[in-house]
């Protein structure tokens, strides 16, 4: 972990780009988490709900800020804070629990946040996917696919899991993906559920 007390937004973005995701998110978790957690607790929520909201938004948030057309008009901290708060409200609404509404003039970030939150997987889809992953993938396949979707190259994966070379890693990844594909192909029920959730 970088021992520097505060990191500039550009430094955080650079860390995310340089595959120092864990360090960047550890910094965010340690330094910024208090901001939305205290807000959520003040408005009737708890720290678990705050962390769930963060876990929901972090992936789309990262994808968004690393996309080529992203412009840093607001601070990353304010942007993420708004996203997490709004995701918490969405989660509360789904569970029919009362949650306060944001004031319209709060940051002017709501539109950006809502655009991002469209990419957040809904709870039902997450449940179906979790079941599918648990049933189909073994530990090694899970690790290889996680590394692949985390942005690691085939060469790095081959090194990490001692697969010999890049081609072996590519073949292994293909076999793991095919397991999911075959399972879905052979289970029309799951296929239909996923199709419904995907196109809803």
């Amino acid at each position: 972990m970088n021992r520097k007390v505060t990191l500039a937004d550009q430094e955080i973005l650079q860390m995310l780009k340089d595959k120092e995701r864990d360090q960047a998110w550890k910094y965010i978790f340690d330094k910024w988490r208090g901001l939305w957690t205290s807000y959520i607790v003040q408005h009737g929520g708890n720290t678990d709900q705050a962390d769930t909201a963060l876990a929901d938004v972090w992936y789309p948030f990262e994808r968004k800020v690393l996309s080529q057309n992203f412009k840093l008009e607001y601070s990353l901290k304010a942007y993420l804070n708004t996203c997490v708060r709004r995701q918490w409200i969405r989660n509360m609404k789904k569970e029919n629990m009362p949650a306060i509404e944001f004031k319209a003039e709060e940051h002017g970030l709501e539109a950006f946040a809502d655009e991002l939150l469209r990419d957040v997987l809904n709870e039902e889809l997450k449940t179906v996917l979790d079941k599918l992953l648990l049933e189909v993938l073994g530990e090694s396949c899970r690790k290889i696919l996680t590394s692949f979707y985390s942005g690691y190259s085939m060469e790095e994966i081959a090194q990490e899991y001692e697969l010999g070379n890049e081609d072996n890693a590519k073949n292994q990844k293909h076999r793991c993906s095919n397991k999911l594909r075959d399972h879905l192909k052979n289970n029309p029920q799951i296929y239909q559920i996923l199709k419904r959730l995907y196109y809803d």
């Binding site: 996917l129 599918l132 979707y149 985390s150 993906s177 879905l184």
Partner: protein, 326 residues
């Protein structure tokens, strides 16, 4: 196209990574091929899998960080005790440094005192040896039936025509000069001892042993051996000659001079004995300076003297080294 390549192309199409032309072409293929369309649909539905896998991974990390924050590590949990131990260690370390400083100071004091003690002992030894030397001188004079060579008082020395040189330090070169002149002499004497045909007498055996002792610089042993030769023995003069040298090497100059003076009547060559006596005087120049200077002047005055040239050379060396004149 292999199955793997096809799947990679489908994923690239779904993620928008194909060029517009390639994407349009692929779309047409999908529309025309039902099996391909089904394959594409399967991959489309599996697209959120990646996001979910990474999200689960990151969630696990969040949980771990959360746990870390709630349950701080060993250092944070035991900060108080660690600080206490650290302070205690620092205190102990400081005490140890202070103690070792005191210890080294005490050692330095002790060393200094020891040095002083050694100096004092050395001085005592010098005094002791001086006393012994004087005692020996008296004893030797008695043994030889001669009175000890008196050291002339300062006033008496001033009355002589030749003004004596001031007493030089014991490390002055006169001793070296005397030794360098006398050593070849004694070497010759010793070679005659070694070269003599043994008759088996006790004196010859003693002389041979004394010669070996001198060779090995065991002068005290040589002295004892030589003193064992009786006055009536034919080897007695040679023993006296060697004994004088032995005394000189022990820095017992008074005994050396006295012994050599005893030896002189046995030797017919007065030039040689004068010269050697002169050198024995020179060996203890501060004590025998008057005798030395008088004898050397005598040799220098006699141009026929066998050692006249060597005396001149010695006189020159003494002048060069500042022994005489100053």
């Amino acid at each position: 196209m292999t199955e793997q390549e096809l799947h990679e192309k489908i994923i690239a199409y779904l993620e928008g990574r194909l060029s517009p032309e390639a994407a349009d072409e692929f779309r047409l293929q999908i529309e025309a091929d039902e099996a391909l369309a089904g394959e594409v649909e399967l991959h489309r539905l599996l697209q959120p899998v990646g996001q979910r896998l990474v999200a689960l991974d990151m969630k696990a990390k969040f949980d771990s960080w959360q746990k870390e924050a709630e349950h701080p590590g060993f250092v944070r949990r035991n900060l108080f005790w660690l600080l206490a131990i650290g302070l205690l260690s620092a205190g102990l370390l400081g005490t140890w440094f202070w103690y070792s400083g005191q210890l080294s100071k005490a050692r330095a004091d002790n060393e200094r005192l020891n040095t002083n003690l050694q100096d004092t002992r050395l001085k005592n030894q010098v005094f002791q040896s001086e006393v012994e030397r004087l005692q020996k001188r008296i004893a030797d004079s008695t043994w030889q039936g001669r009175l000890p060579v008196p050291v002339k008082p300062e006033k008496e020395q001033k009355e002589t025509k030749i003004s004596p040189a001031p007493v030089a330090d014991i490390t002055q070169p006169y001793k070296q000069l005397a030794q360098s002149e006398l050593t070849p002499m004694i070497t010759r004497t010793r070679s005659t001892v070694r070269g003599v045909k043994r008759s088996g007498s006790t004196a010859e055996g003693l002389l041979a042993k004394a010669d070996t002792a001198i060779e090995n610089r065991l002068y005290r042993r040589a002295e004892k051996l030589l003193l064992g030769i009786a006055v009536t023995d034919p080897q007695y003069p040679r023993a006296l000659e060697m004994l004088a040298y032995t005394y000189m090497m022990q820095e017992n100059y008074a005994a050396a001079v006295s012994t050599y003076q005893t030896y002189i009547p046995y030797k017919a060559d007065s030039d040689e004995t004068n010269w050697h006596l002169c050198l024995y005087y020179l060996a203890d120049y501060p004590v025998f300076r008057s005798e030395f200077q008088q004898l050397l002047q005598t040799i220098l005055a006699d141009t026929e003297h066998f050692y006249h040239d060597r005396a001149k050379s010695l006189r020159k060396k003494l002048a060069e080294t500042g022994v005489w004149p100053e």
